[in-house]
Amino acid sequence: MAAHALPARSPRFPILALLHPRKRSWLVLAALLLALGIGTLGVRVWGWPLWWAAALGLGLLLVPGALKWRDDLRRHGRVIMVLSILLAAQGFHTIEHTAQLIQYHILKWPPFASSGLISAANAEWVHFVWNWLVVALIMYLVRGGMRGMWVWLLLAWAFAHACEHSYMMLRYLEMSSELQRLGFPQLSAQGLPGIFGRDGWLARSPATQGTFLCRLPGVTTAPRIDVHFWWNVGEIALLLPAAHSFLRTHITLQLTIDSRQP
C-alpha cells in the first residue's frame, strides 16, 4: 500500500482552510470548555471581574492557537501565519464589540461601563494597542506580498481607525489626569467619544456648528459603541476579501488518497 499525492489545488474557501484547527480541534474544544467552566466559577463564585475570566479564556485558547500557528508556519510560511493570527484575533475582537453593543443597547449600561469582555480591564489601552497592532500587521502582510485593492482599502481603513483611537487615547489620558487632580484616581475615564459619532469632535466642534457636518446621520449621530462596532465591521469586511484573494493564490490544498497498486 502506498499513498499517492494528487496535484495540489486551491481550496474553495481558503480562509476556512487556513483557520481550521485540524488536529488541534480537540485541544481548542478542551480549552474552550475549561475556560467557560473556570470563568463561570470565577465570576459567579469567586467574584472575579468579567475581564479576568475573559483573559483566562484567551490565555487557555492561546495554547492550541500557538500550536496551530506553529503548524501554519511550517506549512505555509511566516506571512500566512501572521495572516492566520490576524484573522483569528479579528474574529475575537468582533466578539468584543458585539458584547459592548449588547451591554449598551440591550442591558442599558452607561457608555463608561459598556466596555465589553476583555476591555473592561481598560478599553482605551486595549483598543489603542490592538488597532495600531493591526496596522503594523497589515503593513507586514503588504511587505510579504499581500497586495491589491482590498488590502489598500483595508490599510487606509485600519489607519483611520487607529488614528481615532489615538485621539481617544489622548483624551483618556487628559481626563484621567483631571480626575486625579480632583481626587478620583480610581474613576474610569473610559468611553469618551472620539472624532466621529454622537458627541464626538466632529459633532461638537465650534468649527462645525451650524453646518451639515455636525449632523451627518451615523457619522456624527451614532454612539461611540456603534461607531466602533462599524469600524470593526468595516475592517473585517475588507480583511476577508483581501485574505481570500491572497490565500487563493498562496495556499494549496493537499489531497491525498490511498493509491493501491494492483
Binding site: 442599558k108 483624551r171 483631571e178 475615564a189 465650534p206 456648528q209 451639515f212 455636525c214 451627518l216
Partner: protein, 553 residues
C-alpha cells in the same frame, strides 16, 4: 468612472440636504365660531440706544440664599420667578420666590426701574401670577417647600394690594403647579404635584404615615376647588399643560426627578387617563416648555435634564464623579435618557429630535424656555443652569458646578446654534427664569432667579426685526386672561403661533401677554385668536410696533 460620479453626486445631495431649511408649511388659519372683540392699541417704546447687539445684565434686588453658605440637598433647588402686570399700569412686574426667605415683588415703574417690596411669604418654590377669582386682577400663587400652596389675593387697593387668603380645599403640599381651564367651563383650574424626596427628608415618618401628596387636579367649582388625586407619589420638579393628543385641550405633564418616570394624563370623558406618548424622555426632568419652533403651527415640547454642553475634558471630569455616583441600573424598556429631549410631533407620534437639532446638552439645566430673542420670527432657546450641593460636588470649590447659561439661536433650518455673542452666558447658578418685554420696547428681556447670587435681568439690546405684543381680556368669564387661547399672526409669507400660558420653565410664571417677533420687512395681515371656548376673533392688519389689548365682547 460613471459609478464614482454617481457616488459623488449622491453624497453631495445628502450633504446639501442637511443644510436645507424645512419647507414652510401652509399653516391653516385658526377656525371656529366668530367672537366679537374690541381692540386697543398702544405704541411700543423705541428700541434702546445704542443698540449694542448684546443683552445687558442688571442685578435685581433679590437673592435666593441658602441657609448655609453651601447648599445641602434640596436647598440647592432654588426657586422660581413670575412676570405679570399686577397693577394694570401696562408695565410688567416681577415676583421672585425664595426657598428659604421672603419673596420679593419688584414693581416695574418703567424704563427698567423697579421698586422692591418684600412679601411676608417665606419658603416658596414656584410662583404663578393668575387671576384666581376671576375679578380681572392678577393674584399671586406660590407653592411652598413643605406646605400647601399659598394665595395672595389682589384687592386692587394700592394701599393694601395683596391679602393672604386660602385656596379653598387645597391642602396637600405641592412643589410645582400649572394653571389653566382643564374642563372647558371657562374657570381657572390648576394641577399641583409634590416633590416627595424633600418632604420625606424634612418630615420623615410624619410624611410616611400621613396622607402623602402626589399629583392633584384642582377643579374650580363655584368658590371652591375640588381635588382629584391622579397619583399618590411624585418627584415633580415641573408641570406643564400641553396638548398631547391633538384634541385642542390641555393635557397634564409631570416632570419627575431621579429615576421616577415622567407622568402624563389626557382628558378622557369626564376624567383623566394616564398615557405614555414618548419613546424617549428626560431622566431628571427639571422643566418643560413648548413652542412652534418651525412655524408650522405644531408646537413641540422641550424638557431639560443634565448633560454637559462642553465636551472638554476639564468639564467632563467635573461631571464624571457625580455621574458615576448617581448612576444605577436602568430597567429594560425604561425610556429615560440623561439629556434634554425635544418632542416633535409627526405622523407616527412624537419623536425626540433634541440631538439632531442641537438642544440636547445645555448643562445642569433648570429652566429652558423658547422665545424669539432677536425678533427674526424664529423661537430661540435660553437655558439657565448650574448646581450647588455640598455632598454631590464636594470635590469642587464651594460645592458648585459652575456653568454658563446657554443661549441657542434658531437658524430657521431646524437647528439651534450656540450664541455666546449675545452676552447671556451668566455663570451664576440659575434656577427659575421668565422671559417678557419688561421695558416695553418690543423685544424680550429675561429674568433669572439665581441661587446664592443676586437675581439678574438681561436687557435685550439686540434691536432686531419688528414685533407685536398681544394682551387678551375675557371679562365675561372667570378665565379673564384667556389662558389656553391660541394666537396666530399671519403675514404675507409666514404664520406665527403662540399659546397664552401662565407657566414655563422651572417653577416659573409667564405673563399672559404674548409677543411676536418677525423680520422688519414683513407686513402683518391678520391676527387670529382662538379663545379657550373655541370661538375665533380676528384683527385685520395689526400695526407692527404696537401692543394690542383685545377684549372679548
Amino acid at each position: 468612472m460613471k459609478q464614482s460620479v454617481s457616488a459623488i453626486f449622491a453624497v453631495t445631495l445628502l450633504l446639501a440636504g442637511c443644510g436645507n431649511p424645512p419647507q414652510r408649511a401652509q399653516v391653516a388659519p385658526l377656525s371656529g365660531p366668530p367672537a366679537a372683540v374690541h381692540v386697543q392699541s398702544v405704541a411700543l417704546a423705541a428700541p434702546p440706544e445704542p443698540c449694542t447687539g448684546v443683552f445687558a445684565a442688571h442685578d435685581l434686588d433679590h437673592t435666593t440664599a441658602t441657609p448655609r453658605p453651601v447648599a445641602r440637598m434640596f436647598e440647592g433647588n432654588g426657586a422660581g420667578v413670575a412676570i405679570g402686570d399686577l397693577d394694570d399700569d401696562g408695565w410688567l412686574d416681577v415676583v421672585l420666590a425664595h426657598s428659604h426667605g421672603a419673596a420679593t415683588l419688584l414693581w416695574n415703574t418703567g424704563d427698567l426701574h423697579f421698586r422692591a417690596e418684600r412679601l411676608p411669604q417665606h419658603d416658596t418654590r414656584a410662583v404663578s401670577l393668575v387671576d384666581v377669582d376671576g375679578d380681572g386682577r392678577l393674584d399671586i400663587v406660590f407653592t411652598r417647600r413643605l406646605a400647601a400652596p399659598s394665595y395672595w389675593h389682589n384687592t386692587g387697593d394700592p394701599a393694601a394690594r395683596f391679602t393672604p387668603e386660602l385656596l379653598p380645599n387645597v391642602a396637600r403640599p405641592a412643589y410645582a403647579m400649572a394653571w389653566g381651564d382643564l374642563n372647558g367651563d371657562s374657570a381657572l383650574d390648576f394641577v399641583a404635584a409634590s416633590y416627595d424626596a424633600e418632604l420625606l427628608t424634612a418630615q420623615g415618618n410624619s410624611f410616611l404615615m400621613g396622607p402623602g401628596a402626589g399629583v392633584y387636579v384642582y377643579t374650580r367649582s363655584g368658590e371652591r376647588f375640588v381635588p382629584l388625586q391622579l397619583a399618590h407619589k411624585s418627584q415633580a420638579l415641573t408641570l406643564a399643560l400641553f396638548d398631547l393628543n391633538h384634541d385642542a385641550q390641555p393635557d397634564i405633564l409631570v416632570g419627575n426627578d431621579f429615576a421616577t418616570p415622567d407622568q402624563y394624563w389626557v382628558r378622557q370623558n369626564d376624567g383623566w387617563a394616564a398615557m405614555q406618548p414618548f419613546s424617549a424622555t428626560s431622566h431628571s426632568t427639571m422643566s418643560f416648555d413648548s413652542g412652534d419652533i418651525d412655524n408650522t403651527g405644531q408646537p413641540v415640547l422641550f424638557a431639560t435634564d443634565m448633560k454637559p454642553y462642553d465636551k472638554g475634558v476639564a468639564t467632563l471630569a467635573e461631571w464624571q464623579p457625580m455621574m458615576s455616583e448617581m448612576w444605577s441600573p436602568v430597567p429594560l424598556g425604561d425610556p429615560q435618557i440623561v439629556e434634554n429631549v425635544l418632542q416633535v410631533p409627526g405622523a407616527t407620534g412624537f419623536r425626540n429630535q433634541a440631538y439632531a437639532r442641537g438642544v440636547d446638552a445645555t448643562g445642569w439645566s433648570w429652566s429652558g424656555e423658547f422665545a424669539d430673542l432677536d425678533n427674526d420670527g424664529w423661537l430661540d432657546l435660553y437655558v439657565a443652569n448650574g448646581m450647588i450641593e455640598a455632598e454631590l460636588f464636594n470635590y469642587l470649590p464651594n460645592g458648585a458646578l459652575v456653568e454658563q447659561n446657554q443661549a441657542l439661536h434658531n437658524d430657521g433650518a431646524g437647528h439651534f446654534v450656540p450664541m455666546p455673542q449675545w452676552g447671556l452666558g451668566s455663570a451664576r447658578s440659575g434656577r427659575g427664569m421668565a422671559i417678557a418685554d419688561l421695558d416695553g420696547d418690543g423685544d424680550l428681556d429675561i429674568v433669572v432667579n439665581n441661587l446664592n447670587a443676586p437675581s439678574q435681568l438681561f436687557e435685550n439690546q439686540l434691536c432686531g426685526g419688528a414685533s407685536l405684543a398681544v394682551d387678551l381680556r375675557w371679562p365675561g368669564s372667570k378665565n379673564t386672561r384667556a389662558l389656553g387661547a391660541a394666537v396666530q399672526l399671519r403675514t404675507g409669507t409666514a404664520a406665527y403661533s403662540r399659546m397664552v400660558r401662565a407657566e414655563a420653565g422651572y417653577l416659573s410664571g409667564l405673563p399672559a401677554r404674548v409677543q411676536f417677533g418677525f423680520p422688519a420687512g414683513e407686513t402683518p395681515r391678520q391676527l387670529l385668536v382662538r379663545w379657550p371656548d373655541g370661538a375665533v376673533s380676528q384683527v385685520a392688519a395689526p400695526t407692527p410696533g404696537t401692543r394690542l389689548t383685545i377684549t372679548r365682547e
